[in-house]
């Protein structure tokens, strides 16, 4: 067993990517960095970020990464970094090859129609916020709500999709519908009491055009291992 582990380590070392990591002192950010960050967030978290947002994030990460590279912790993880970067490169290669596949519309549409319930438009609630500095006052207000002489900061939140709320709130709101107060929620900015003023049941579904990119990403994720095997097979055939 030990011999096997040693052999594996030698193989990994011998065939690993050689990476020389040096700090980017200039913190120079170009359009390629911004695009890469946007793509990364889109792929990993399905999150769209603005160019400015991506630029800020790259800058902040680079400042922190530079500090990390210069710190005594970095050497300890050197091998780990190499392995992690190789995995990232391998995954990127497969993702790029997947992206070049043009999926026919009927592939995406068939998924959409088969899972149409997933694309039902979420219901909405109209919320107003009463923010207190004192928990006792918030609790009293919740137990006996009166809009007159209330010592709270009042803010209209407006219509919010219930999909944006956490699961506990979602189930409470779905059950009680409208015109009631939610129990006080303690946050770092104060104690929030929400008034669920109105509830709107949505009908209809999100359009195919709106969700087709999301479906494509899902199908690629689902076939990622299959694609990886195919690519490895074709590489070993050609070499």
């Amino acid at each position: 067993m030990r011999i096997l582990v040693i052999l594996l380590s030698i193989i990994v070392y011998a065939f690993s990517v050689s990476i020389n990591v040096i700090p980017d002192k200039k913190i120079a950010i170009d359009n390629g960095d911004i695009f890469a960050m946007q793509q990364y967030l889109q792929r990993t978290l399905n999150f769209h970020i603005t160019e400015q947002g991506a630029k800020n994030l790259v800058r902040e990460n680079r400042i922190l990464a530079n500090k990390y590279i210069e710190s005594p912790y970095f050497k300890k993880d050197k091998k780990y970094n190499q392995i992690a970067i190789e995995k990232l490169f391998a995954d990127n290669y497969i993702q790029h090859l997947q992206d070049s596949i043009k999926l026919p519309a009927k592939v995406l549409k068939s998924y959409y129609l088969d899972h149409i319930d997933q694309y039902k438009k979420p219901d909405k609630v109209y919320l107003e916020l009463f923010r207190f500095t004192d928990y006792k006052q918030a609790l009293e207000f919740y137990q006996n709500p009166s809009h007159k002489n209330v010592k709270a900061h009042r803010k209209i939140i407006g219509w919010v999709s219930i999909d944006k709320l956490n699961d506990v709130l979602k189930s409470v709101i779905k059950k009680n519908k409208e015109n009631y107060f939610l129990p006080p929620i303690v946050t770092k900015n104060g104690i929030n009491v929400f008034w669920v003023k109105k509830y709107k049941q949505e009908s209809g579904y999100e359009s195919f055009d709106k969700v087709k990119r999301q479906i494509k990403e899902y199908l690629f994720k689902k076939t990622f291992s299959k694609k990886r095997e195919e690519i490895l097979k074709s590489i070993s055939k050609n070499e």
Binding site: K106, V107, L108, K109, S110, Y111, I116, L219, K222
Partner: protein, 147 residues
């Protein structure tokens, strides 16, 4: 060739074009109400004819396009086989949504008969079958109905 002969020949030619293949192993008593439903019944018959005769390379192309993308043909054919040499009858069709049809089918084989369901989805002018594997235990009761 006179006009009457030409007319007769044209009628015979048109009758030949609209001739429908009758499968002895797939039966349907439903009278389609529209061209869309006619298409559904035809696809149902062709699909099940291929399945009960073990022609899985043919039945594969009737499966939903996204399932064909995800599931390799080799894996697909390994998970079928339960209904080989059975007889299939279309009992009824329901439309829970505009482009979705649920077909109730009766399967008759050596070991008796069962009532099962099929989900068909209308994509870009064609009906596609939703594939459920039949050799492994179903994931839940709903899936069992469709296997």
């Amino acid at each position: 060739m006179n006009k009457i002969t030409l007319l007769f020949l044209s009628i015979f030619f048109l009758a030949g074009c609209s001739h429908k293949v009758i499968f002895t192993d797939v039966h349907t008593s439903l009278h389609p109400q529209s061209n869309k439903e006619k298409g559904l019944v035809q696809r149902f018959e062709e699909y099940w004819h291929a399945r009960v005769n073990g022609q899985y390379n043919k039945s594969y192309i009737y499966e939903l396009p996204y399932q064909q993308f995800i599931i390799d043909f080799d894996r697909y054919k390994k998970t079928l086989g339960l209904y080989k040499n059975s007889k299939v009858s279309l009992v009824k069709v329901q439309y829970p949504q505009k482009n979705v049809a649920i077909i109730t089918r009766k399967m008759e084989g050596k070991n008796g008969s069962w009532i099962k369901k099929d989900k068909w989805i209308y994509v870009d002018g064609n009906w596609y079958h939703k594939y459920y594997q039949t050799l492994f235990p179903p994931l839940d009761e709903k899936e069992a109905q469709f296997q």
